[in-house]
Symmetry: C2
Subunit: 112 residues, 2 copies
Amino acid sequence: MPNLNASFAALADPTRRAILARLALGEATVMELAKPFEMTQPAISQHLKVLEEAGLIVQRVDGTKRPRRLAKAGIDAMDQWLAMLRKALEKNYERLDAVLAAMEPNTKGKKR
Amino acid sequence: MPNLNASFAALADPTRRAILARLALGEATVMELAKPFEMTQPAISQHLKVLEEAGLIVQRVDGTKRPRRLAKAGIDAMDQWLAMLRKALEKNYERLDAVLAAMEPNTKGKKR
DNA sequence: AACTTATATAAGCATGCGATTATTGTCAAG
DNA sequence: CTTGACAATAATCGCATGCTTATATAAGTT
């Protein structure tokens, strides 16, 4: 049961996104994942814990190694949630634009 | 130029996801957005600021009202990033399963 | 002008997060 | 059985986040 809070929070960190991008190429151990970063191994382990609790990766045991790989469930959950928004955008596309275009042009204030 | 850090962080909060879900139905003012929540108006305004800075919503001026609606750019950015992961999962599907199945079956340790 | 509605901003506070160092556990190899 | 590689955990610290209350701004109403 993937948790959207944890999943999206996990993706909010660039290190964790990079880790996922690396895992998109295939399994990798903690040391392999840590190598590209100017960061200690414990830091990476903690990021991996976050990703696992978010349901985005799973681990396997191989001697003293703990290779990680992507987990479909968590990724799918976020994907579906976003699909909802995307669908709404597509559906409202013509309608919203029409409404906004029909508005008095002096109500064209933008930004703050 | 949407910022993935800010965008994903924004979605990590259930209140903000609910706000986006509401906006998926169409434009809404701050008061309309605040109504369903047991939270003060300033709190909602702050959430809206987070969503706007994340590029997920835009505002319009209508008298003293500031109706918000979804912003395509930010949502698309996240969508594309996730698509990358999803694609990797699909691509690695057979390959990974094959590799794992071919592994010595005594290396079947799961979880911690 | 005074009042109300709609919203934003500021200050304060509790909690959570990302990193570090230090330490510990486990397996593999000699 | 000792040593070294791989990895997890704990304690700590600074900074960010999410709320609150209080106040401000600005347009609409009477």
